[in-house]
């Protein structure tokens, strides 16, 4: 009897566990469903729609006017006769690489310095302010500073340098906007890097000090290697942000000018879709940009993994 009961119990216990797991799974999916629905409606469906549009000719508004266009949109977009590959894609990459380099370098420097200062909270808030401010406000303030009669040119004039057309000269326009984007991104990166710095055990520095290492050696051999996970996060997010940047360009240059000098992929997509009603070309551009972002992100992750970083 006992044996029989115990045998029944042995079978019943896993069944109860399965039932419990089943209920827990159901509850989990129920909790997940609003987020899943949100992703489907606002991410998956538009993404699938964009794929369809990339192979179509569509002027917007009315789905009955949608026509199959095959790969012609990709042909137009990737043609070297057009403007997308050069200068737009080149601008996009220069803008992203430039802003990532400046922002990462700047944020490491700032975070490292702040970590050694008093009133750290105050400094972090100060550097975080641009992140809180809207892009429109930042863009407009810098736009005014860049004007021929603006603050920066006034300083240059005082130093005996002639005024520079920061936003009106096609040679200076893209670097000028890149600097602003990098400056505005430093605050967020500083916050993440500071958390990374705080996570580095103090004993490493103490041991290095005992061994006679100077500040530079400590930074190069302890701080930087142990900061790599945080740096990787900063690099990836900054890079994606840089490649998708749009608002700052439109605020500071209006039309991606002068002469397409500041025109980047996201802005061109907006123009094609909302200005010219060429949704097919705009979607093909979005697909090309998506592939580029995916490839660069995977490359970054691959490099990080080769160096033994935990990235999952």
């Amino acid at each position: 009897m006992t044996t029989a009961v115990s045998r029944v119990g042995a079978v019943a216990a896993p069944a109860r566990r399965v039932g419990k797991l089943h209920r827990e799974g159901l509850a989990a999916y129920l909790f997940l469903s609003p987020a899943l629905l949100f992703f489907c409606v606002f991410l998956i469906l538009p993404f699938l729609f964009a794929i369809v549009l990339a192979f179509s000719d569509w002027g917007g508004f009315d789905l009955s006017t949608l026509k199959w266009a095959g790969f012609s949109n990709f042909g137009d977009v990737l043609s070297f006769d057009g403007t997308f590959v050069k200068p737009i894609l080149v601008n996009t990459l220069l803008f992203a690489f430039g802003s990532v380099f400046l922002a990462t370098f700047g944020s490491v420097l700032v975070a490292y310095c702040i970590d050694r200062l008093s009133f750290q909270g105050f400094w972090r808030v100060l550097y975080f302010l641009p992140v809180v401010a809207t892009v429109v406000a930042i863009g407009n303030v810098w736009k005014m500073m860049y004007q021929p009669a603006g603050l920066i040119n006034a300083v240059l004039n005082k130093l005996g340098v002639n005024s520079v057309g920061f936003l009106s000269d096609s040679s200076y326009a893209l670097p000028s906007v890149t600097v602003v984007h990098a400056w505005a991104s430093i605050g967020g990166a500083v916050l993440i890097l500071t958390a990374g710095l705080k996570a580095i055990p103090e004993m490493y520095y103490e041991a290095a000090e005992v061994d006679g290492a100077n500040s530079w050696h400590m930074f190069w051999s302890i701080t930087l290697p142990l900061l790599r996970p945080a740096l990787l996060f900063v690099l990836i997010t900054q890079f994606i942000g840089g490649l998708q940047s749009f608002a700052l360009i439109i605020v500071m240059t209006g039309d991606g000018g002068p002469v397409n000098a500041t025109n980047v992929a996201a802005f061109e997509m907006y123009q094609r879709a909302f200005k010219f009603g060429a949704w097919g070309t705009a979607s093909a551009m979005a697909m090309v940009l998506f592939v580029i972002i995916l490839a660069i992100t995977l490359l970054q992750l691959w490099i990080a993994r080769r160096r033994g970083e935990e990235t999952s």
């Binding site: 999916y29 409606v41 057009g82 009106s168 000269d169 039309d255 002068p258 879709a273 909302f274």
Partner: protein, 426 residues
């Protein structure tokens, strides 16, 4: 299994949401047989808003069953607003749009066909320039509203001080006057610009160029949307602009709308609507402003560009008949003295050319300002701005080509060839 069910549910819900978003037009029907029409326009401030609001209020008072509600945005936001709202199924019943957008709005089934009887009347009663600016192919897009032509504005005092006694009548005289009037300080900064060819934005660089192109006998786009500017006339017009920029008589960093009023610009190729702004901004000094036709390469030749706006009915409107009824009233009812239409007066009061021929003729009899005469005259010879699908894109390509010449000193022939390559007929 549960996952796939959840996903299916999500997809169905998403499709329903998307379907709802892409559904029909705004349901503006009210209770008790009352219809509410929405009118989206860029008449967002000043006399343009006041005038339109007044007419709408008058209509609403007399037509309690068809009430019209104005929705306004700034011009820069008009196309985007139209696009987003239309895609979201919330398009206005009546849209006021820039003629240049007409082709793409027509291609995307936004603008409804004008009923035949109304189209016949419009074609008979409006000026060719106004009709040309709001007709794509053979299709009329709606009632022409604003009509603007381009002319040469000049500061009489600056020209006289430079020894230029009469307004330029050829390109050579125009270039000569520009070079004589330009003034720079010791550091080379421009104090007075000779001739403004305007810089930022498509309109501000392309419209002056197209006016010069017209004066040389050239064309922007062919009826099929192909580029027509990459030829002898186009190259001559852009070379003319490029030479002035190279001689520093024209500078892309000068904004005429800001600096003309204070004597910072001697001459500018600009649209007629500028008259109203200059009068307000310059007050007594407005008497220094002269207006003449944009000269061509040879004596007697002249050119201009005409662009227009139109009011059409949304193809998705559930109350198209009522919308056309209102638009017909809006454009045809006359002022109390019966001489001109109320819309014609509303436009003329803003310094714009009334597009209706009879209104134009009435105003031309006694123009309150001699500077308006060349602007009205230009409506008889100006090249209407093309507006087929792809025209906006072509205009942007041309803008970039012009800017490479004016700002970067690129060869005009190469710049035009590149722009022509970017023009893709649709």
């Amino acid at each position: 299994m549960r996952i796939s069910k959840g996903l299916r549910l999500a997809v169905v819900a998403g499709l329903l949401a998307t379907g709802a978003a892409c559904g029909g037009g705004s349901d503006s029907g009210g209770g008790g047989g009352k219809v509410e029409l929405t009118l989206l326009s860029h008449y967002s401030d000043g006399p343009s808003k006041d005038g339109l609001d007044k007419m709408i209020a008058e209509w609403n008072k007399d037509n309690p069953k068809i009430q019209v509600k104005a929705q306004v945005v700034k011009f820069d936001d008009l196309l985007t607003t139209m696009t987003v709202r239309q895609t979201g199924g919330r398009g206005a019943d009546i849209v006021s749009a820039y003629g240049l957008w007409g082709g793409q709005l027509m291609k995307a089934n936004v603008v409804a066909k004008v009923p035949d009887d109304i189209a016949t009347k419009i074609k008979a009663e409006y000026s060719p320039a106004a009709l040309g600016a709001v007709t794509t192919g053979d299709t009329l897009l709606g009632y022409p509203t604003e009509l603007n032509t381009y002319v040469l504005f000049y500061n009489k005092k600056i020209l006289a001080a430079a020894g230029v006694t009469k307004p330029p009548a050829t390109w050579a005289e125009l270039a000569d006057a520009a070079k004589k009037t330009v003034k720079r300080d010791a550091k080379g900064n421009i104090q007075v610009e000779g001739l403004s060819l305007i810089q930022d934005g498509d309109n501000k660089s392309v419209h002056p160029f197209l006016s010069l192109l017209d004066s040389a006998g050239g064309k922007f786009l062919g009826p099929d949307g192909t580029a027509q500017f990459d030829n002898e006339q186009g190259k001559a017009a852009l070379k003319f602009e490029g030479d002035l920029a190279a001689a520093k008589a024209s500078n892309t960093s000068i904004s005429p709308t800001k600096q003309f009023r204070s004597g910072g610009v001697a001459m500018a190729i600009q649209a007629g609507w500028w008259i109203g702004s200059l009068k307000t901004q310059m007050k007594d000094k407005y008497s220094d402003v002269g207006v003449t036709a944009i000269p061509g390469p040879t004596a007697g030749s002249k050119g201009s560009l005409a662009y227009g706006f139109f009011m059409g009915v949304n193809q998705r409107s559930k109350h198209a008949d009522e919308a056309w009824k209102f638009l017909t009233w809006l454009n045809e009812h006359k002022t109390q003295d019966g001489k001109v239409t109320e819309t014609g007066k509303w436009l003329a009061d803003q310094g714009l050319i009334p597009p209706r021929t009879a209104d134009q003729a009435e105003y031309k009899k006694s123009l309150p300002d001699p500077n308006l005469a060349p602007i009205y005259d230009a409506a008889t010879y100006a090249m209407p701005e093309p507006n087929q699908p792809g025209a906006y894109e072509a205009k942007t390509a041309l803008h970039n080509a012009i800017m490479t010449v004016l700002a970067d000193g690129k060869n005009p022939d190469d710049a035009l060839a590149q722009a022509a390559k970017a023009v893709k007929p649709q």
